[in-house]
Symmetry: C2
Subunit: 258 residues, 2 copies
């Protein structure tokens, strides 16, 4: 079976099987994005989380939260208030930790070139920890990941280690991160639409760039470039810099024309 037929088979298999997540459904804030990707021949999504505030109970070796078997005291994809956390913390037995986990998305791609386009869009949208995985049999996956998290131990051996005032302050930070995360998802979706639209145009009209005599094409191109430029405004670049994991080490940037 050729690569494209094999990819189609994988896609049908994956999209027809049950959602094995605890929640059992795609998060509201990314449903449209996930549907958009799954409608494209060259992609299908294998997992996603729009971003969430989590309160986890249970530690391993005294330091690492054991996600597999731990108890979720609280999980929300919406902004969170102090009282919700205070109530949830009362149910804690071991070491409880509050986390903000940003948007994460796994997309299987038909070929490397498709993953490269998606990766470029992810980086431009602020998801700096995104990366491609190529399996031994050629399965190509893009993971969209952010550096934009929060992990704060609150309870140690059943004892609350912080004040209610601190929890209030912490949730303010977490809620603002969630707001910023939402903006980045929108930016990613916007940039993705324009990148794929531009790619389709280029495939349909390989010599599009020379066709400046076609007012339609020219206008279309200009609009696409205008839209595209929204992904890399000064403000965004600043955010990307601030969000960078690698400042303080000899950093590598991957520009568009890399």
């Amino acid at each position: 079976m050729d690569r494209i037929a094999e990819f189609r088979k994988w896609k049908v298999q994956c999209l027809s099987k049950a959602d094995l997540s605890r929640k059992g459904s795609v998060d509201e804030d990314v449903v449209e994005l996930v549907q958009f990707l799954n409608m494209r021949d060259q992609f299908f999504t294998t997992s996603s989380c729009a971003g969430r505030i989590l309160l986890l109970d249970g530690g391993i070796n005294g330091f690492e939260v054991q996600k597999q078997n731990c108890c979720w005291l609280l999980v929300t994809h919406k902004p969170c208030v102090k009282d919700d956390v205070i109530v949830a913390l009362k149910k804690a037995n071991g070491d409880a930790t509050l986390k903000f986990e940003p948007f994460v998305l796994h997309v299987q791609c038909r070929q490397l070139q498709d993953a490269q386009i998606l990766h470029s869009v992810a980086i431009d949208s602020g998801f700096r920890n995104s990366g491609i995985t190529v399996g031994k049999r050629g399965k190509t996956m893009l993971a969209v990941r952010s550096t934009h998290g929060l992990e704060v131990p609150l309870i140690h051996k059943g004892k609350l280690m912080v004040t209610e005032e601190y929890i209030d302050f912490l949730l303010n930070v977490a809620n603002q991160k969630m707001e910023e995360n939402k903006k980045r998802i929108e930016r990613f979706y916007n940039c993705l639409q324009h990148a794929l639209e531009r790619e389709t145009m280029t495939n349909l009209h390989p010599k599009i760039k020379e066709k400046n005599n076609s007012s339609y094409t020219y206008k279309k191109q200009r609009n696409q470039e205008k839209a595209r430029s929204q992904c890399i405004t000064k403000e965004n670049v600043k955010e990307l810099e601030n969000d960078d994991d690698d400042v303080g080490i000899n950093i590598t940037i991957f520009p568009e024309d890399y």
Copy 2:
């Protein structure tokens, strides 16, 4: 210029230029690993950090630490004691945040296949957020990243929001994460050596697997397999599970024979 010659040129350029990091040198705990990679024809490292505890002063939009221009109140690659942090916190003006940043490494690879081997080793060693980047001109980079961080706001508008007892507890968590991070670097280096050794053997003797009549080769293979198995012991798998970013969402695993 062909791909291999171009890669060699990039490597010479990169390794001859000054280290632009604030520290200006490779961290002690990864010097050997970095040298090992740079001695191989198919790789060169472009950035690295062994893992560090950071105390950052200054916020952006009231919620996000601005790494580019912020003040580093404290940075250490060794375990950290409460008094060091207490002293450093006295210098804070804005919002100060304590972070544990795990090992990060960027390696440029001669071709995709080289990046795939390195990626597989990184995943097996517990660096679950690792990923490949392929630039438009074919530059292939592997980023080794962990999910194993910590980010805790401590000071808001100059006011300390937690107790000294909490800082003590928090540093205990951070120091244990640093210890675990060190183990994973060692595991990565160990697995990498054996993976590349096995690859070299396979390239030299493509039919090595059939050569069971050669006692040398057979012994060699068995030793390699034994060493290799050290990367995927039960304990490690458990750690990887605990360390997984994607639990709670429909997760995708990339097994060896993917």
